[in-house]
Structure formats: C-alpha cells, structure tokens
C-alpha cells in the first residue's frame, strides 16, 4: 500500500485505516525555553512516558513533537485511525485542549474558544505529506487485540502440554505458527 492509491482530496493522506497528520507551527519569539519545558512536561505525563503505550487519545498510533530551526519552529506529526476531516470537531472539542500548554507558545494561537477557531488554527498549520506509507495494516484496536492474543498464545506454548493440546486438527493453523512464535 502506498500513499498514492488513497484519496488526497482532503489534507492528510490516508493509508488503510490510518491518516497521517502533520502540523507546522512557528514558536513565538522568546518562547523557546517555555515551549521546550512544556514538551518535557508532556513527556512526563501518563501515556507519554516512554514505555507507557496508553495515550489519552486511543485512536492515535504514535505522535511526536519536534522543535527545529533553533527552536523557532515546531512540528507535530502523528497518525491516527479515521479521517481527520470527519473527526476535526471531536478533536477540537476535547483532545486538542490537552496540548494547550504547548500551543500557547505558537503563533496564531488564541486559546481554542470554539470550533471555528480550532479549525482555523489547525488548518493553517497543516501540511499534507508528499509521501506516506505504513509497515503494518490495521487499527490501534486490532493491534492491541493482536498483542493480547500473542501473549495468550505464548502462555499456552510455555505449558508443557502445549504440543499435545495443539495436536488437534482444528488447531493446525496455530501449531504451524508455534515453531517460531
């Protein structure tokens, strides 16, 4: 799957279930230190601590904030399940507020008083990827389910009776995976 086979009519390229989403902001002159501090603080919140894997917004695959050009600019890049266009107002009404402490150090941010302010702020910063690809299909939900399954399967394989149990013909597909699971 490549970016090219998906519609690019709306900002954000979609591959399978996920859309990429990249926002470029300008840091208000003199606010470099504050915005770095705000990002460090974000990194310490539950979900953003390395190894947490429980971000507040459940449909997000991953997200990064990058300060660049001597901390004069900020990139926010993420990918999430669904179409940005459909979910814009949902994000505006809730989750984006989580980033208020960061966005307040960027140009053009006047709080997020209402949906049209959010739309203007976000759409003004969004740049559609020129190329985007994913290395696995599926939604965050499916991947979490797949991980649960793998853990369960591992537990089964650790049981000394696993080989005998997986000998049943109905379990052949599982046995085929068992050799190097």
């Amino acid at each position: 799957m490549t970016a090219a086979d998906e519609t690019t009519r709306r900002p954000g390229v979609r591959v399978g279930s996920a859309s990429e989403f990249s926002l470029f902001f300008r840091v208000i002159p003199g606010h470099a230190e504050e915005i770095r501090a705000a990002l460090t603080a974000l990194q310490r919140t539950p979900g953003y601590r390395p190894g947490d894997y429980e971000m507040a917004i459940a449909s997000i695959h991953e997200a990064r904030f990058v300060l660049f050009d001597d901390d004069t600019r900020l990139l926010f890049a993420t990918s999430f399940d669904g179409s940005w266009d459909a979910y814009m107002e949902d994000f505006a009404a809730g989750p984006l507020q989580l980033f208020d402490a960061i966005f307040q150090h960027t140009d053009g941010y006047a709080g997020l008083p209402d949906v049209s302010a959010v739309k203007d702020f976000i759409l003004g910063a969004q740049v559609t990827a020129a190329a985007y690809a994913r290395n696995y299909p599926g939604t965050v939900k499916e991947l979490r389910r797949a991980n649960r399954l793998r853990e369960a399967f591992d537990t089964v394989l650790d049981d000394p009776r696993a080989e005998e149990a997986l000998g049943h013909p109905a379990l052949k597909p599982l046995l085929d995976e068992a050799a190097d699971a």
Binding site: A58, F80, D90, A93, D114
Partner: protein, 452 residues
C-alpha cells in the same frame, strides 16, 4: 461565535416535525413540489405558512395531523432567495445529497442514476410531509394543503410517497423503530434516557448553543436561519426476503434466528434493548417508553450482550467510546422521524414478491456533515471506529460487497460471513425546514429585507 447568554427556545417558531414525537400509530404522506415561477412559489409559501400558524395554535398534544415544510437549495433559489444568502448555507446542503453519493456509499444500485426520478435532480424544490394518527385526519390536512396550491398552475407535484405503520407496529424487517432518539434540552418532551444528559438544543435547531459551546453555522440573514433545522430524507428499500433467507441458512433453529436478528439490530423486535434483555425478548420492556431507551453500554464494552457492530450501537454508541477520547458521541446525534412504506412481507415467506417496501428515513439536525454524514460514513459504512475496518453495518450499510458480522460470545465468538446487501437507496434530498418567521420572510422576498 460564542453565545454569551442562553436564549430561551422559541418552540412556537420551530416547525413541529423536529421536536415533536410522531403519533403512533401513524399514517404519513411525503410530497415533493417543483416551483415553476418564483411569485407563485412565494404565494404557496405564504399559504403554507398560514396553515402552519393555524396548526401551531392547536398545541403539541392535539392529535390532529401535522405538516412540515422544507426546501432544497434549488428550491430556495427558485423562490428568489438572494445569492449571498444561498451561498451562506453549508457546502453539503448547497451540493445536495446526490452530489455526495460516492462519499455516502450510495453507489452501484444505490447510485443517483438509479434513483426514482426526480429525486436528486434540480426539479425537487419543496418537500411537504404530513403525519397523522389515522387516514381521515391525514386526508383532511393533505386536502387543506392541496387547496393551497391547486390554483397555482406553476406548482407541480413531482413525487409522492405514502407511508403507514404496518399492522404489526414494526418496520419491514420486523423490528420496532423510532425508539432511540436523543433527549433535547428545552424541548419539553419527557426524558427517556436517564443515563445521559439531554443534548443541547443547538445540535438540532439553528440559533442556539450546541455541544461545542458555539452556534452552528447559520445561513444569512439571521431571520432565515434562526429556528430552522436541516432535514434529510432517504427512501430506503429493504430486501426482507434476503434477510430472512440469510438467517434461515445460518441459524440452527427459529430461536437462534430471532437471536441473530436481534444481535444485528441491537434490540429485539419489540424494541427491548439487548443490554437490558440479553437472552430473550421482553415485550413489556420494549413497549415501555420510560425504560426502553434508558441504557448505556458501559457494562458491555466487549459486546457480549449487544455486539459493537449492531446497527443501533453503531448509529449511537452512547457511552461505549467514552474512554477513548477520540470521539465525542454527543456531536453525532440525530433526531429520526422515519416511517415505513409498502406492505409487510407475510410471515414465513422467504422469496421476494417483487413489492417495494422499506422506510423513508428522516433525519433532523443542525449539522448535515457532522451528524448525518458522519454517522453514515464513519459508523455505519465503516468499522474502523470499533477496530474492525472490514465490517460495515449488518443491516443497513447498503455496501455493495457482502460484509461479515462479529457476535462476541463466551466461550467463542460467532462470526457471520458474507451478509448480503439488504438495503438499496432509492433516492433522497437534503432539505432545510425554516422556522415560521423565516417562512414569512421567504414569502415576502420581492422586497428583500437584508439584515444590517
């Protein structure tokens, strides 16, 4: 626009179709009119306005029939609404339903080229619906409305659909419909769902604060937009025989047939919700309006009672997605006023009899895009939001390809494979139902009163 103070809901100015419960039983008629001449069109609006004012005097509890009048974008243009005002409507309304077909999943047999003429064409200007408790009162109101345009030669009836509740009280697939509607702040109707706060008026009626704290985009001038609501109507043909054959094939016995059907809908035929009655039908619950919509999915997040993919749970996941922070369900609600058309396929018949039967789906809300279009595209046609991108609504998606449907069950989930498409879109329109003052304004357009 942020609203500083809460405005009292002007119930008297809002057309009754939106905030009033439909009579049960009911009969209904939908008429589409084409306006050949702006002056006669405005005369029609003047007379319909007088009828609506009269109807309003009877008050909401009066069991007489009621009329709702709405316009397509082409209809507003045909009345001579100024261009600046026409341009001030949201894009999806300006484009109309047919132009959005691909996005909405109206493709293949559901695509506009197969719609009943003149649905989806410029010839549809005015939509008039009449709902009544019985045929005589319907005829009385319809006749009063008819006399309002009979002497206006350029006003032409271009489409008509009669609707009535089947004798079973159910829609064609055999399920009671019209239960799940939001409680609306200020509507004065009894609250039906104790597990959720009423939804803000502005989600359904223009000019009031909505769930985001803003006021939905309103057309200008203000007099035109205030107290209006957008209506969607869609004639949806149902293939009841295919539905029955599918269940007959997959179920071990009749009881399981009923259970699988209920799992697809999220309710039993009586309307009893699966989360409150997981194992068997409960007619008393289905019939009790104080209980049959008072529930959430918090205790059933994994869907053992009601599958996440069931039609009603997709169309309104209630509190099921609360922990996910990606969606605010309150932004995607709708008032539904659908009615059945066609005769029932007799019990036990598994072969199609060639008769056209289904529902005229009617939506009322302030946002065509984030309410109707969102629900249809993100929740009904697609399964990404429940982590099953390959599955669409088992009953109503209208998808061309067969879909799977997963029924969580201990110890082993059941997956129904290859459900055939069961619903075909026969056509539809996006309409705007103005408030009564707005209708008066529309009828007086020869002297456009632009707001300052």
């Amino acid at each position: 626009m942020t609203i500083q103070q809460q405005r009292a809901l002007e119930l008297g100015d809002i057309q009754s179709g939106a905030l009033r419960e439909r009579p049960a039983p009911y009969v209904g008629r939908y008429l589409l009119l084409r306006l050949g001449d702006a002056e006669q069109g405005r005369e029609l609006v003047r007379r319909l306005h007088a009828l609506l004012v009269e109807q309003d005097r009877h008050g909401p509890s009066d069991p007489q029939a009621w009329l709702t009048v709405a316009f397509t974008h082409a209809g507003l243009a045909a009345l001579g609404v100024p261009q600046s005002s026409l341009d001030s409507f949201p894009a999806e309304f300006r484009e109309g339903m047919a132009a959005r077909a691909e996005q909405l999943g109206d493709v293949g047999p559901s695509s506009p080229e197969h719609w009943e003429p003149p649905l989806g064409s410029d010839a549809v200007h005015v939509a008039v619906s009449v709902l009544a408790p019985d045929a005589p009162s319907l005829e009385a109101v319809a006749e009063r409305a008819r006399t309002r345009y009979a002497d206006l030669p350029s006003v032409e009836v271009v489409w008509r659909q009669d609707c009535y509740q089947l004798s079973t009280g159910r829609t064609s697939f055999g399920f009671k419909d019209g239960i799940g509607n939001p409680d609306v702040e200020g509507s004065g109707l009894p609250l039906r769902n104790r597990s959720e706060r009423p939804i803000k008026t502005g989600e359904f009626i223009l000019g009031y604060p909505d769930e985001t704290g803003s006021v939905a985009p309103m057309p200008t001038p203000e007099v035109l937009g205030r107290n209006g609501t957008f209506l969607v109507f869609r004639k949806l043909r149902t293939d009841v025989a295919a539905y029955r054959r599918y269940l007959r094939d997959r179920a071990r016995d009749r009881d399981e047939e009923r259970l699988l059907g209920a799992k697809m809908v999220g309710r039993w035929p009586s309307g009893a919700p699966l989360v409150l009655a997981p194992d068997t039908e409960d007619r008393d619950l289905g019939a009790d309006p104080s209980r049959n919509n008072s529930f959430g999915y918090r205790d059933d997040l994994r869907g053992f009672k009601c599958p996440a993919g069931a039609h009603a749970r997709r169309a309104n996941p209630r509190d099921a997605l609360e922990d996910e922070n990606s969606v605010n369900v309150r932004l995607h609600r709708m008032i539904r006023r659908g009615t059945s058309y066609g005769t029932a396929l007799p019990d036990g018949v598994l072969e199609d009899d060639g008769q056209d039967r289904g529902i005229v789906f009617v939506f009322a809300g302030a946002h065509l895009d984030r309410q109707f279009e969102f629900v249809k595209t993100q929740w009904i046609n697609d399964g990404v939001f429940i982590g099953v991108p390959g599955e669409s609504d088992p009953l109503v998606s209208g998808a061309q390809a067969p879909t799977d449907f997963t029924i969580p069950h201990v110890p082993i989930r059941r997956r129904l494979r290859d459900l055939p498409p069961l619903v075909v879109t026969r056509g539809g329109e996006y309409c705007f139902a103005p408030g009564l003052r707005a209708l008066a304004w529309l009828s007086g357009l020869e002297t456009p009163q632009e707001e300052p």
